[in-house]
Amino acid sequence: MKVTLFATCLVDMFQSNVGKATVELLERLGCEIDFPESQVCCGQPAYNSGYVKESKEAMKKMIQTFEHAEYIVCPSGSCAFMFHEYQHVFKGDPVWEPKAKKLADKTYELTQFIVDVLKVEDVGAQLEGKATYHTSCHMTRLLGVKKAPMTLLSNVKGLEFTELPGKEQCCGFGGTFSVKMSQISEQMVDEKVHHVEETDAEYLIGADAGCLMNIGGRINRQGKPIKVMHIAEVLNSRTFSFQ
């Protein structure tokens, strides 16, 4: 199966390890990966801040870049949702609305793609340790992907899982919110870190680079001994087999 990777700008620039893990994981599951170099940012930072006009140019570029893809897979629920949102942004536009609709129909978040399209629930990953999972708001509420990551994580050998208290609460990232309203964002991320600590987890796992950059950044600042991992990295872990 040919999969076109929408890596996201955060992964491309700051978390290339997540991109690598995604490629390796999907290849192991029998996919052939294509990464169109002309991909840019999905436009969400500008769009969510109210700069719809500015963001439309990025959206058009992305629509063109992925026009010929069969399946588009993205290791971030929020950015994958943004691809689904394009059709509403271009509503009424005779050229771009149908194109945006097509884009949405073939765009999947990584875990959603593995479970719903590849029909795989156990990717054969192994990672020893205690873990908890942050359910990102855009991925669960807006994209509607709730079960897939849990299904895949429950089959990771060696992983002892504890549910995160207050898991439905936003971590305080919110894109530009984190800098525009940093005072409030700080309180939100602090409560999230506090909840993560309550679980005694060694690993905080998430499926969205933005949330992880926020929670992880706060955990690092406070020097807490919690390792932040993207779900692609967890699912690509083969700890035992290499030992």
């Binding site: 109210g50 006009k53 963001s55 509420r141 940093s182 939100m188 690092n220």
Partner: protein
């Protein structure tokens, strides 16, 4: 109290909220508690998503036909001997109500809970003409005797106070000498209020829903105070926002159930008081004279706009109770009697962007509000629409932000620019980078790094790794 509360700016209000640990403890506890009860109550009903669609349908139908239902309501009230007054502005509403008070030579008014009377600042307008106004909802009563402390929540106005603080207010203002036990506190308030019900000349209520078909209006309470306000005084004035109508009792039943389940996780409240006009010959109680004041105050301007769905609101505050921002800053931070997500959408519409331009940004657009709204108002989308209006129509965005976004537009739309920009990022950020992280970032990054570390851009971007790998593969 008018809609706007306090004169501090947004950041000062938020700072105060964040530093108020009493309030934050009370709010977080209430959110967790009410949130769990709400979830139980909606699961117990079953098919909640279908109920939501039904609730939305009822509210949208009313808004689409608001002129028809307003006319039907007014006619039915007039036919039952009631008086109806349409007020475009708070001043018109207050003038009319003052007129009734003066005509009745009323010295004392008892009130049941009403957000719209807060919105039009009715109490102080009546106090100005020497009329004593007594709030009878326990939460409102506490705030009123505490020198008119503003409400911080549309359903539980004194949510920001814990029981010890309430005891202190009672002790200082009412000479209360007992404990902070809620039962003892409530008994004391009941004793004080009982005298006021018996001696009041006029009862003023809000309106949860008006029933157009019968000319009735319904009040939902747990304290029974609305029953006393509407049965003892000889004159009754009900004030409603112009959109708070249902076509008939059939829709009333649906929305009351959705309201109480969403607001406090109850199947039904302790009291649903439904009244239709003044008392008739066979009635044993009820007012001799009835006035309905229908308040527009900017609502009709929202009709027909992209914000119309905000008028679907039934004031349950489920969005407030689910909001992670409200959780940490509390209701007073919004600077409006309408707080939380619904307040952040409604306040700029009713009160303008001058006072409320920050509110639409006080959200991560996490969608928790939209998810719990019983009538499916897309609250986070409306917050986003406000941002778009602020940036594109009002032109109120800061210049630095505008430039940044302009650059974003250019960079993001051009793969070449994007590619070179992201390639140069590691060297540009080098002076700020230690151990692969940035602890003190420049420009807009500073607000991020004040709170948390920022990762240094990868020296080998994902795209470089991918390209090298492809090259390697083709060689081998």
């Amino acid at each position: 109290m008018p809609m706007k509360i306090g004169n501090e700016n947004f950041s000062e209000r938020v700072g105060k909220g964040i530093n108020n640990s009493f309030m934050r403890g009370a709010v977080a506890g209430a959110q967790d508690n009410i949130g769990a009860r709400r979830l139980h109550a909606v699961e117990e009903l079953g098919n909640w998503e279908e109920w939501r669609s039904h609730g939305e349908e009822i509210r949208q139908h009313v808004l689409e036909n608001l002129d028809y239902y307003l006319e039907q309501l007014s006619e039915n009230i007039a036919n039952r001997g009631g008086n109806v007054y349409f007020a475009s502005t708070p001043e018109e509403a207050n003038d009319y109500i003052r007129g009734v008070i003066k005509k009745k030579r009323a010295k004392k008014v008892v009130k049941s809970k009403s957000m719209v009377t807060e919105e039009i600042n009715l109490n102080s307008s009546l106090e100005d003409i020497g009329c004593e106004v007594i709030e009878t909802d326990l939460g409102e009563y506490i705030l009123q005797i505490d020198d008119h402390d503003p409400p911080s929540h549309i359903v539980a106005p004194a949510l920001h106070k814990n029981k010890e603080q309430v005891r202190d207010v009672f002790t200082e203002k009412l000479g209360y000498k007992k404990s902070s036990d809620p039962t003892e506190l409530a008994w004391h308030a009941r004793e004080m209020l009982r005298q006021d019900y018996l001696t009041a000349d006029v009862g003023i209520t809000g309106c949860n829903f008006a029933v157009a078909e019968t000319g009735s209006f319904a009040l939902v309470t747990n304290e029974g105070n609305a029953d006393l306000v509407t049965s003892l005084p000889k004159t009754q004035i009900t004030v409603m926002g112009m959109e708070r109508i249902v076509p008939s009792f059939e829709e009333l039943e649906v929305l009351v159930s959705m309201l109480t389940r969403s607001a406090v996780g109850q199947k039904l409240p302790s009291y649903v008081t439904v009244l239709t006009g003044p008392r008739e010959a066979q009635d044993v109680d009820g007012p001799e004279e009835f006035h309905l004041v229908i308040v527009d105050n900017g609502r009709s301007k929202i009709l027909g706009t992209e914000f119309q769905s905000v008028l679907q609101c039934i004031r349950c505050a489920a969005c407030v109770n689910a909001c992670p921002v409200y959780r940490h800053v509390g209701g007073h931070s919004y600077g409006s009697i309408y707080s939380g997500p619904i307040g952040a959408v409604l306040s700029p519409l009713l009160g303008g962007y001058d006072d409320y331009k920050e509110l639409p940004y006080a959200s991560t657009l996490c969608g928790a509000c939209t998810e719990v709204c019983p009538v499916k108002i897309p609250l986070h989308e409306l917050l986003h629409k406000h941002r778009q209006v602020i940036v594109e129509k009002e032109g109120r965005a800061p210049v630095s932000e505008k430039l940044l976004m302009k650059a974003f537009g250019l960079g993001a739309a051009s793969p070449t620019l994007y590619k070179w920009g992201s390639k140069l990022a590691p060297s540009a950020m080098n002076p700020f980078t230690t151990d692969d992280k940035i602890s003190k970032g420049p420009g807009p990054l500073k607000a991020w790094t004040d709170v948390r570390d920022f990762p240094a851009p990868n020296k080998e971007r994902f795209r470089d790794w991918y390209k090298n790998r492809e090259k390697g593969e083709s060689k081998s």
